[in-house]
Amino acid sequence: MTTTQTPDTLRRILDYSSRADPYPLYAELRETPVARQEDGSFVISTYREISDILHNPHLSSDTRNLSCPTEGMQAEGTPAFINLDPPEHDRLRRLAMRHFGPPHTPGLVTGMEGALTTAVGHLIDDFAGKERIDVVDDFAYPFPVAVICHLLGVPREDEPRFHRWVDDLINSIDYNPKTDPKEKLDKGVQARKDLRQYLGGLLERRHGHPGDDLLSRLANDDGPDGRMTDEEIVATANLLLIAGHETTVNLITNGMLTLLRHPHVLQRLCEEPDLVVPLVEELLRYEPPVHIIPWRAAYSDITVAGTTIPKGAQIMLMLASGSRDPNRFHDPDRFDPDRRDNQHLGFGSGIHLCFGGPLARREAQIALGQLVRHLDRPRLVADPPPYRRSPVLRGPIHLYVEQGAA
């Protein structure tokens, strides 16, 4: 029996004070691979168990299958496919993938490489002669936002509007009714409504006007599965807009931070541009943008590592902990861009494997590869840097770097 109660470890992980370095606490958590919490939920923290349960057909992503869903968990309106199970999940993801990747749209990400390089180039050009830059505000945030806006067909100038909605929304993801003010939840609910209403407005103008962007393709295309309803398109666009930049910003920022902490690797990356491919994979393992899948539901009783999780129980999956599991990865706390057999959990696993993973990879590869070659002897201003609140989408809120003469 691997079940014991370790509520304190999880509480400390979620507490803001451990944001800069949650990894020792993950190690503590892994001593109990499947840990039952006081409230009846379960936390899974080891690689094998996370990987197994993500492939288990009895695991549900639908809040309706939780026996006691936390307030605020149930999204307003039609859920996006991330919060649905097969066959609905499969249908909606298939409909979205028709316009994003193989087999119907195989060249999309490759075709964007020129545009990605140009976008990165414009941001980097502004760094010349600047002594101090903020990797987040000046680079890691504007880049993926521009990319996802372009892809979806969201006007770039509306960014300040949805930036605030997305912030409020992300802040409410880990809402805890016991410790957090109700306002945090209310702001998230309102932001969700506003964002959907905004996207609905954009969508309306796309009907009958097929264009190149994803919104108009979804609005006008009829495949073998039919067409998404407007509510489904809005839910999908909403998901892609949020996931499309709230995660990549962390990947790029965590990447730059890790490189500054490993100057020899940074130097190598300048000399061996191809190193960026395995390096980004190692980043996804070592400092992933998404640390936690906050909840899944047991659709029926699930047995993991000898522990039976009862039907309806809430399950939290500690992805970042799994990717640091010494029973899966040799010397897991070492950042090793030459690592082989690196099947990390950075993009999750199973049917909900990150939809935008191929784009995120290319974005991070191009961003980091260009950045290290254009900065002049970059130095970290503060280590650790200040972090964002969220323990789920974890990354620095600012990453100040000085360059040039010192």
């Binding site: 197994d52 057909p57 066959p87 499969d90 659709y299 029926s300 049917i351």
Partner: protein, 463 residues
Amino acid sequence: MTSADNLQAFKRAGRIVVVGASLAGLRAAEALRGEGFTGSLTMIGDELGEPYDRPPLSKQVLTGWVPADNTKLPRRRDVDAEWLLGVPASGLDLANNHVRLADGREVPFDRVLISTGVRARPWFVESEAALDGVFVVRTREHAEALQRALAAGPSRVLVIGAGFTGSEIASVCRERDIPVTVAELAPAPLVGALGAMIGDVAADVQRAHGVDLRCGVKVTQLEGDAQGRLRRAHFDDGTTVDADVAVVALGGIRNTDWLRDSGLAAGVWGIACDTGCRALDLNGLVTDDVFVAGDVARCPNPIYEYRLISLEHWANAVEQAEVAAHNMVSGQADRWPHLTLPLFWSIQFGINIKSVGVPTFADEVVVTQGSVPDHRFVAAYGYRGRVTAAVSFNNAKWLDHYRRLIETAAPFPPPCPTPDQPADTKPVPVDFPGPALLAQGATVVVTGHDPSERRVTAAYQHR
């Protein structure tokens, strides 16, 4: 090779010969170098040219998307080998440790890996097989020739045999809008590998895609015209079909003929070996210096009651090659057993079919997830109350779960429910057509009286 010193000397300066330079042979050679083997390495292969990948030959090459010569296998490292290509091996002399080539050359070795694979089973009447328009698909040249014939726009293609290769070829024909007839002796396509229930699904899929599917019939004659071109096929029910292309997809023949006098337990069923890929001799004794990998290996699998199983699977070839290579340069204490579960995939009629485990090792099958009418489902196979295999149609991402069920001998049928519950969750008999005798033709004669002199010889006349 009894002491560590000998092993070190062998790793440094020994001689390894790999017979069969396709997927298993190449991966083994790479693994040998990866394991630190620095001695001489000789690759023997009957085909000219570099090792290439075969799965695309019945798929992307036939659609014309990928040219046949663009299927070279990627190299993981430089193997620094001597390549003796274009001449098949004709014999293995275990008294003197050398491989004989068909041109009379002899290649000495300290250890040998046999990965000679499978060749296509030809049409049983030689003169009919020689007709213009009659094809098999196993090699790059075969695929290239068939691709050209398909590109010429034949009036109708006849595919003989509805196993995986035959079904994939029929799918390509429909994709290219070529009329196709599929003739299968069994009651349905794929039935020999996946059983009657999946066979019925496969039959529906083929018919829905416009295949003229004829099951339970045997092609008795391929008829040519005066110019030696195929024009018609005759069936045992008296019917005929006019076709200018016929593809014979009746499975393969294991390339073991050259081992007939080697003293190894080799025959039509393959070459028997232990889980460490060491070949067995005719007496069933494990040899020290002869290893087997790939389609030609017949290896016991503890998960399936230690039965000897031969698999013509891509992943199996790669995994066996790595295990064989490791064991060739390792001492007894470091040996690895080949214990991975069989994994197989096919793409046909827009459906990704994937399986894990051994579906033929089953008595019941049940749909566990998804919808059969939508051709999106997972079915689990069970044998005496435990899960032994699973197959997915457009649902491959779940198979890891079933792999774990098989590895842990989980009870069959697996517990329900799942969110994507199928309409019918009752197991049905798996229903394979006739038990195939795996070791057919393995007739031997035992001679001698004392335990020290008891020996087996092969009785080939009984084949």
